[in-house]
Symmetry: D2
Subunit: 343 residues, 4 copies
């Protein structure tokens, strides 16, 4: 069987990464590629790296153009997904890499996004307990945010095992500007970013905060709190999250390692590194892998976890394809086995 | 059939890239991984990105450890390949990513490397005329240097078509430090390289000069000359060569495009970009593709060609695997179809 | 005496660099800072690094606001300088960092800029023969382009000494995106530029070509030709030009070194590096220095010169201030003696 | 009066930065430049950016060579300072940029450095309460570590004002590899660092932890605790620390701003940025300035402070010179007023 896919919003970074990962699959046919203002251009003008697709036409994002596909990926600005999704049949698998259908709380949505809540779709983070069952056969999937994927995976085994209870979590996460998309803003210019690190969204205002807290609650945290600070650093891709939380009681690093090793024994993409190795983003560049390492800081009474992933791959497009594989009953790792491009 | 491969010199960048590209192939079994001073360590200490191979043992580079493989890749310092190769049977495919067996002229070898010439093996650049035939069934292959691959492919159609005759070629090629390997030298430290560009090997002394001239002669250039300057720039991988040469006579850019399009119509990995797009190294990062674009500078009477490739992929390990595929009668693109990781 | 200066176009990179270099001078008073669309904002919104000027108001670029200054720097888009300059008195020193008044040939201007030629002002490259005399006392100065400064200084002693005659010059120059200003274009985004090298303006179409040829003619080249290719690489600032040209006759590298050492013996900012050292852009970062090294490629019969400078400092704002110092009769190096920020 | 200075350990990054900042001062004479293994070389082989000092000889680090200077800067590996200092007269100002004399607790020293405690010298952080008085006239000064300077300045006003009490401080600090010096280690190679972020010294083991806690206690914290994680990111210089701590009670961001503005009203180098601007390392590159911004995260009940400085300038050499100025009774800002080189 060949899966015919369409990408709405193909000119952005998420769209490009979906196509990079899908274009070489034998079981996938690349169907309609659509956009809004760029309709009428060639894909190569937006993604020179998609060598085999350079001459493909970018079509307008219309129900007619998106019709007739098995899977439609939405890589649209926040707020635009609901209308497009509504035009697609219920038998079509629609996978939204935007935020619109991630949050369960309409109140959280309003507080952080300021618009009306579109609803909630099954959440595309298969590593959450019971989540694979919810995704299997689903025809609507909300891809998690890149920081929520990183930080949730960094803490999940510790919260599940009661090593931490999820209160007073502090996460600081250097990342590259590809997560901000192709927005033409001065602070995203290369001249401004190269050779410089800068924090943004400081003080609890980043839109991924409620999503992370929602995940921690699903993992069993009764009243999680989170201080989260993303930091722009001079690399195109990657997230390197340092996440710490107060220990619930005396814990050795070996106990933590055991909990993580056990939790991820059967996970294909999440890897607890051997002792002595600390995650680095280049190790997962372009791949669907997540690298994790743990430490116990006795003097500060905190568990410290460092996690690395590629924000466009596992953090967006790779995660989306992993969920697609599950929803369609394919092997979960299909098309996602390449390793990080390093050095 | 499963191809059992070994890598001698597995801890360096070339060795790591070979394993990255081979580890996910169904038709390849990763056999012995060997090194010299690092024997006894784990592969993960050298290549954190090789997620599925982190716990593999690094063995000593001995004939016994390298015995029993279908293919042995040599990723050794210059001068070390001959002895290891001599210990391997003639039925074993030996692919050397070093320089030892590239040059046909013992005099050139002596002038640029200062040691005794080891000999000449079939040259692993399938895009040269008639080269695929020489590689098919071969059991010894010399992988070209990364700059020779770039500059030769940049000029090949123009030399073959007589657009230029190969004299007074000027090539300047920004590249990343991964091409220099893991040498522990001050000028290769991150602090020195980030935010800075610097030339090296200036004035005709770079060891790739005679190899490039050898290739130009094979393409038909009677008396090629080359001014070549590599430039270190702040990126880990990639070569972006700007190559120019005097036009043999009045030539339009369309004539040049036609010659290149025709020459590469059936080449799986070399791509003349659509008009208006200029090569960028990120577009081929981690991939086996080469991107090329051409211009005619009438006022300066020069053909100008820009070519981009990944020095560790098509420039070393990808090119090696492409040649392996040909030598073993496999589809030439097997395991090499992923596209560049961008942005 | 205190020199009261104004900057028209203060929000761009050239404007910022002028202020960085002038703000700490005891003999300079920072007067009006003006802009067009950003009038009404604070300077700190555009230049966070100008610590002591963060709260300064950005005024509108009007004759009234620019009146009453000893020196007015114009850091405006091409084509905008003439009108502003016309409103300033003839006794005011007006220094234009734009291209409008650089070219002497109206035909060249039309061919490369496509608009009407504004005229020609004294050219602010004091290192050209006789140029200091032309700048002394001048009240109108055109600051050279950053590539023309680099390439002209790379070749000047060789052309003057007849080592090369200026025909068939080939220059390839990696540079950072700050030279393109704060233009909000996708290819200047950090995500696109980091980790990548790409050529642009290939084939003789870059606007600095006629300016470089004009300089070579002034140095004595009868019929200079130039193949020039700029290359964007991942660093904010800096130009590293590799410039080569056919040797007029047999020449040793020592003869070349002698010519350069002699030509620059009294130049405060141009430095022929000791033998064995090759220019690197970090060595001149933020400084007004130019570093140069030479080689003779006998086999290719070319002189090869590598030159490094900071495109915003010596290449724009530093060069402008150097000319200001000369025009006002101040010590030429005043305020320009800091060395490159490395590593 | 001219101050004659010597630098022991002149070939490293700290030594180079001291010379960069001192070489252009009219009131400073550059005396002996010494090193150990590099004695007999020229300074230009180690610091190409020190244009005016390229031909200076590197002498051996001996008492004879260091004799006869007003100020001797020690930029040596940890553990080497005591012996050199003992050979210098008590009237000579000795400023140690190493760690040897920073800690007051011999127990802390033993726990984190594993050798015998050398003693304690006046601590060169003038922004600490009462510290300028201790430094005035002193002839021995211990320069603070780069992370301690950053994190202490980030928290000082909040601890002094009782906004936080110093317990459960969490600091995560992306930085560049220049802080690690010119150590020839694989993980510091440019190929490994460019395009990648990685944590190190995780879990409370970094040697700067006890120094930071010592400073917090001096500021009035009764029982401070600290979880500190440095992160290597792809820039040569700079520290961007995100520091958070539980609020002692309900606090508005305006109250915090008032406390910081008040505390730093007279500080020449520490700047609370205007509201809306967040620190970025390029803004302080090469300068002695520290940029700070604050937020209150009510939901997480934490004060969040972001601070940026240049680890080699204010974090090492600039701070050292600031202390020298104070010790010698010179204006504190002498030679340190240049602003950050951005973009």
């Amino acid at each position: 069987m060949t899966i015919k896919i369409a990408v709405a919003g193909c000119t952005g970074y998420a769209g490009g990464e979906l196509l990079r990962l899908l274009a070489t699959r034998d079981d996938v046919e690349i169907g309609a590629l659509t956009a809004k203002t760029s309709a009428g251009t060639k894909l190569g003008q937006h993604h020179q790296h998609l060598t085999t697709l350079l001459d493909r036409d970018v079509l307008d994002t219309t129900p007619a153009n998106l019709a007739g596909h098995d899977v439609v990926f939405l890589a649209l600005p926040h707020g635009a997904s609901a209308e497009v999704a509504a035009s697609l049949g219920e038998d079509v698998l629609v996978i939204d890499s935007g935020a619109d259908f991630r949050l369960e709380s309409a109140q959280d949505w309003a507080a952080f996004y300021g618009t009306e809540h579109a609803g909630t779709w099954p959440y595309g983070l298969p590593e959450l307990p019971g989540q694979r069952e919810r995704l299997a056969g689903s025809r609507r999937i909300a891809v998690p945010g890149c920081f929520p994927t990183t930080i949730t995976l960094a803490l999940a085994p510790a919260v599940s095992a009661g090593i931490v209870d999820g209160h007073d979590v502090v996460a600081v996460a250097p990342t590259g500007p590809s997560g901000a998309g192709k927005s033409l803003k001065p602070h995203l210019l290369g001249a401004e970013l190269m050779g410089s690190a800068s924090a943004y969204g400081v003080g609890g205002v980043h839109r991924h905060v409620p999503e992370i807290l929602q995940n921690l609650r699903k993992l069993g945290a009764a009243a999680p709190t989170l201080s989260f600070t993303p930091v722009l650093v001079p690399m195109s891709r990657g997230i390197l999250a340092t996440v710490s939380a107060p220990l619930s009681g005396p814990t050795t690093v070996q106990q933590v390692r055991d909990a993580y090793a056990s939790a991820w024994a059967d996970e294909p993409f999440v890897t607890l590194l051997p002792e002595g190795l600390w995650p680095q983003t280049q190790s997962v560049l372009g791949s669907n892998y997540v690298h994790v390492q743990v430490a116990v800081d006795e003097a500060a009474n905190r568990l410290v976890v460092v996690a690395a992933l590629d924000n466009l791959a596992k953090g967006t497009a790779g995660g989306a394809i992993q969920s697609m594989n599950i929803a369609l009953g394919l092997p979960e790792t299909q098309g996602l086995t390449t390793m990080g491009v390093a050095p």
